[in-house]
């Protein structure tokens, strides 16, 4: 053991080998994927529509029907189209690379510009479009959008905040290991807080989510069906420093600060844990919202730690 480097030892932690992984999907899966992919239009993005998990069977059924009709790439463009305004992510095209970012401010071009600046220090003039799939794509103004796309200036801020607050590690579904009952209550509270009435909250796989050790930490927000579907996630999605940061930020969410003060407090808490914006161990988005009396702080995790602070300018 003493002769092994850590990299050798890390190899032993790999949960599955390449060969095993490919075998699990089967030779037929490999061949079918090749056939399907090469049927896609070449050189043009043929996106899939974000489809909630609970609609999987329906999506599949319709996709199969569509396949029978057209047998083209259009078969994997699916369903449940919400108005682009009622989406909570932005496809930000940066130097030809598509990056899906969570919506933050409600102005998709602004959110994309923030991502540009993080990557390159500056952003060109940008324009947001509702694309043909009902989601939002932001392109440089110099780029010509495909036919049928129309400019869009805003997304539903309340919906974005609802999504943030549900995903939140500080006080949301990821703040502790919630049973389905507790998660349902929390989701109902969040809906009421952000003014969503007439919505329903349901739990997928209900029988699994009240068992000890099983956490309900994921959700699908569907503005068309006006529903939140909670999903058993098996455990907290965040860990280590993310949870430690959440513990330190939680007291701040109980105080009443302006946006600048809250941002300073968040930066201090992150800095004390050795986190750095410049190293992108976290991304901080500050959103001025003078309709609020006190700043809200949300922490979500995925790739890095996303911190969103909304609040009044003073």
């Amino acid at each position: 053991m003493s002769g092994r480097s850590p990299v050798d030892s890390l190899r032993g932690l790999a949960p599955v080998s390449d060969v095993e992984a490919a075998a699990l999907f089967g030779a037929a899966g490999c061949e079918e994927l090749l056939a399907e992919v090469t049927r896609l239009p070449f050189g043009r993005r043929a996106r899939s529509r974000h489809a909630p998990r609970r609609r999987r069977r329906l999506v599949l059924a319709i996709a199969v029907v569509a396949l029978a009709v057209t047998a083209t790439a259009a078969t994997w463009v699916v369903l449940n189209r919400a108005p682009a305004r009622e989406t909570t992510s932005v496809e930000c095209v940066i130097k030809g690379v598509d990056t899906i970012i969570p919506s933050t401010s409600g102005d998709p071009a602004h959110d994309c510009a923030v991502e540009w600046r993080r990557e390159f220090g500056s952003a060109p003039p940008l324009v947001a479009y509702a694309n043909e799939l009902g989601s939002v794509t932001v392109l440089p103004r110099s780029a010509t959008p495909p036919a049928g796309w129309r400019t869009i200036h805003s997304q539903d801020v309340a919906l974005i905040e609802l999504q943030d607050s549900l995903d939140d590690v500080i006080n949301g579904l990821n703040s502790s290991c919630l049973t389905s009952t507790a998660a349902t209550k929390l989701a109902e509270t969040k809906l009421a807080k952000f003014g969503f009435t007439g919505w329903t909250v349901s739990v997928r796989d209900q029988q699994d989510t009240n068992t000890p050790g099983s956490c309900t930490s994921m959700e699908v927000v569907d503005p068309v069906a006006r529903s939140i579907t909670l999903i058993a996630g098996g455990g907290l999605s965040a860990g280590g420093v993310s949870l430690e940061l959440a513990d330190r930020l939680r007291p701040l969410t109980r105080s009443c600060e302006s946006l600048p003060a809250a941002v300073a407090s968040v930066r201090a808490a992150a800095g004390n844990l050795g986190l750095s914006e410049s190293a992108r161990t976290y991304d901080l988005n500050a959103v001025t919202d003078n309709s609020l009396r006190c700043a809200s702080i949300y922490e979500t995790v995925g790739g890095t730690i996303f911190l969103t602070v909304r609040g009044p300018s003073r």
Binding site: L10, F25, F42, H50
Partner: protein, 181 residues
């Protein structure tokens, strides 16, 4: 001027067959649910197909494709879980019973605990080296960054792993830093 449809498809098929196993491995090593892994694999190869005229050729293609898969999975983790017919068709052939029989990686030793305590970006960096076998140069391609930046990030990730292993690091390194690539 350009290659024909048949030639392009043939060239794509060669690349696909060479990279299918590594991309399946990459996805399934990082994504717990087979449905998400299938989506990541499908989206990665769909991206390769769409960009086949503009993506790197030769030795750079493999790390570049890991970079694509990395972004796809990062988007999934940001909440963009997609369910497409393409991914669904792949997951339909998934052998769940065999997957359940795979021996889980040890979770109790010091290295596993130290590795788990790192940030996701550090874990990804180290995994690209340890699991995908990328060199520093390939790491830069996968991360879409300069070699110097990749080297610096790797150095920091190694240091943080070493710090996390502090009580037991002599067992691995004898106190000296290892070359990881």
């Amino acid at each position: 001027m350009g290659e024909g449809v048949a030639e392009r498809r043939e060239r794509f098929e060669v690349a696909y067959r060479e990279l299918y196993e590594p991309i399946c491995g990459y996805a399934l090593r990082r994504v717990r649910e087979p449905e998400d892994a299938a989506e990541a694999i499908a989206e990665t190869f769909a991206t390769l197909w769409r960009r086949f005229d503009r993506c790197p050729r030769g030795a750079e293609l493999r790390p570049w494709l890991f970079g694509v898969a990395r972004r796809v999975i990062a988007n999934q983790r940001r909440g963009e879980r997609r369910r497409t017919a393409l991914g669904q068709r792949l997951v339909e052939s998934f052998d769940q019973a065999a997957f359940d029989l795979l021996e889980p990686a040890p979770e109790t030793n010091e290295l596993a605990r130290a590795f788990a305590s790192l940030s996701e970006s550090d874990r990804e960096l180290l995994s690209l080296v340890a699991w995908e076998g990328l060199t520093r140069e390939e790491l830069a391609v996968a991360l879409g960054t300069s070699r110097a930046a990749a080297r610096l990030r790797l150095h920091r990730a190694r240091r943080r792993l070493r710090d996390a292993l502090a009580p037991t690091q002599n067992r691995f390194s004898g106190g000296a830093e290892h070359e990881w690539t």
